[in-house]
Chain length 365, copies 2
């Protein structure tokens, strides 16, 4: 990098002390006009620019938000957090804020990064994703009075009534409830459900939305309901396998609501493989893949999530509001409602084991 | 935000000047032991931490790389740059570097951001993506001596022989050449090509790789070759339409190589719609969708692209090397070779207009 002129260079050229140069920049009222002229001439001659980092030190605002970049996911639903990052970066830019990305392999490592960034005043606040039960990260941030907001509510019973920290979430109950009602509106009488097996609030809420609609509109409950649901890891092959199991049962579902587009794509393939191309399948997250293959899906309003997160951190007008100040008049959480995007697939189905006659294994790796 | 103790607070508590506190922090050798003890006690009492931004001002290194986040793309290939951002963030973290994200709607706006970040010493260097012919951004960075590297070579004739700035690229000629050879190895005698119509180096290189393999192995040239290729915008519907056109010609292709997975997915759908489920189709970028539907695709080594970009900026060992210093012994570009990931699709095909009997339009938006 080229050597930028420093305040010392300006002081030497102007024949004054560093403190005097500093006074010219920060307290011009106390500087004699003649000295001012000399220092300004030196600043111009050298092309000296006071560093923003110095200005930052004075104002104690970095105009920067810290975000941990989640490890790359290979699932087709994994891009949700990337899409959120895009929305957050664009909405933050409208407020003159930038995003500082960092990585961390474990929650403990992430807390170390929080500490480092806090100590360096490198960021004004953090936005966290992928929170989990008894998350040590939010505990540390609360203890250390560091402003933050999470995308995803904390796991616990009374988060809605008395949130322990600011959060924005999208109502998973509503999402799968809408999807299930949509399938029933289309004529389904037994709606299957493919969900996650990770015990998160997300998993529980989405399952509850399906169960509630099935109970209210189809009168299903207890074991009659339970046999229509399977929980699995997220992924296309997992969705395929789970849907195959459901469809092979004595009383198979006539529609399947899924907790992700990956599971839904797998379910579509399973149905097509069994000659049931017409089985309605509804996904979650409205990924580009869902649009490409004509899969109906639940859309999370990520732009509104980003905007809400920034409002909880910095206030509606962009003024700085401490995130953790909580009062009844100033709610510190937002629960947003997703929407169903209904599509008609005309393209995807299976031709059993017909395969593509590409060359053998000698080119595979 | 809470009020952090300042150097003024330390000076007041210790009963010394700001300059003395500064000396304790920066030039302890010139401070009397007794004064040192008093200042250190005040620092401890207040929990004062010298700001990293102040340290940064002294060392003129932000340990930060500026990256413009491209606008969100809805195409299934759009995630390539997101995947590159993940790789860059992780490889940068290994060198103690962070990524500062910003947005810009136009190249001119992006140059304004360069200037602002340069003036503020907020970043050490930039990594650019999506470069184009006569890119004003790289011209500005060169003129202003700002270290940078691009993912994507500059458009021009002699970039390989005499690069005008540091770049890392993945050899598109090799990618589509491998794809075409793979199709020919599998028995194809007329390989169609679906490419981009944007006139970029990327578009030209990828087409050239297909043309070269078709000429060498199948003896096709001139008009016989040209009628097998179509250029279009990127997207699934575009791929579907273009492949339909190619397949309807008097001498249709018996395999199709595509410049993206979106085009390839569209081509698969077109082939299936015409009852040609067995037509080999090969995509580009090896997206999660390609893996999900069993599409063979060309994989760009994004981790190696990120690592190479950092090496060109900061040197192989992590030492700071000016990016724009160019010598024969120190090449400033890297052309990396992609690899073919061959898959066998057993799942995707079309059932003409059978559709999914989801409810009507009243839920659509």
């Amino acid at each position: 990098m080229r050597q930028l002129p420093t305040v010392e260079d300006v002081a030497r050229i102007a024949g004054v002390s560093r403190q005097t140069v500093s006074n010219v920049l920060n307290s011009p009222a106390i500087v004699k006009p003649e000295t001012m002229t000399r220092v300004k001439a030196a600043i111009e001659q050298l092309g000296y620019r006071p560093h923003a980092s110095a200005r930052r030190l004075r104002t104690r605002k970095s105009s920067t938000i810290g975000v941990r970049l989640d490890p790359m996911s290979n699932g087709i639903s994994g891009s949700l957090l990337d899409r959120f990052l895009h929305a957050l970066t664009e909405r933050a830019a409208e407020r003159g804020l930038r995003i500082l990305l960092f990585t961390a392999r474990t929650p403990e490592h992430e807390i170390e990064e929080f500490r480092r960034l806090r100590d360096g005043s490198d960021v004004d606040a953090f936005v966290l994703t992928s929170t989990f039960r008894q998350d040590p990260r939010t505990a540390w941030l609360l203890e250390n009075d560091v402003p933050f907001v999470t995308f995803g509510r904390p796991s616990g019973d009374d988060d809605l009534g008395e949130p322990i920290h600011p959060w924005v979430d999208v109502d998973g109950f509503s999402g799968s409830n809408q999807a299930t009602n949509h399938a029933i509106d289309g004529g389904a009488t037994r709606v299957g459900y493919l969900g996650f097996d990770d015990g998160t609030t997300t998993a529980l809420e989405r399952r509850a939305g399906w169960a509630s609609a099935s109970a209210e509109r189809l009168g299903l409950a207890g074991r009659d309901l339970a046999i229509l649901a399977l929980a699995t890891e997220d992924g296309v092959p997992q969705g395929n396998a789970a849907a195959t199991t459901l469809l092979a049962s004595p009383a198979p579902p006539d529609a399947i609501v899924c907790a992700s587009d990956s599971l839904a794509l797998g379910a579509m393939m399973a149905a097509a493989g069994l000659g049931r191309n017409a089985l309605p399948v509804i996904g979650y997250d409205n990924t580009p893949v869902a649009a490409a293959v004509g899969l109906s899906s639940i859309d999370q309003p990520l732009d509104l999530v980003a905007q809400s997160a920034l409002e909880l951190l910095f206030g509606e007008t962009g003024s700085t509001v401490a995130a953790h100040v909580h009062s009844a008049a100033d709610p510190i959480h937002r629960l947003l409602t997703p929407t169903l995007v209904a599509r008609r697939s005309t393209e995807l189905a299976s031709v059993e084991n017909s395969g593509f006659p590409l060359a053998g294994n000698h080119h595979e790796r």
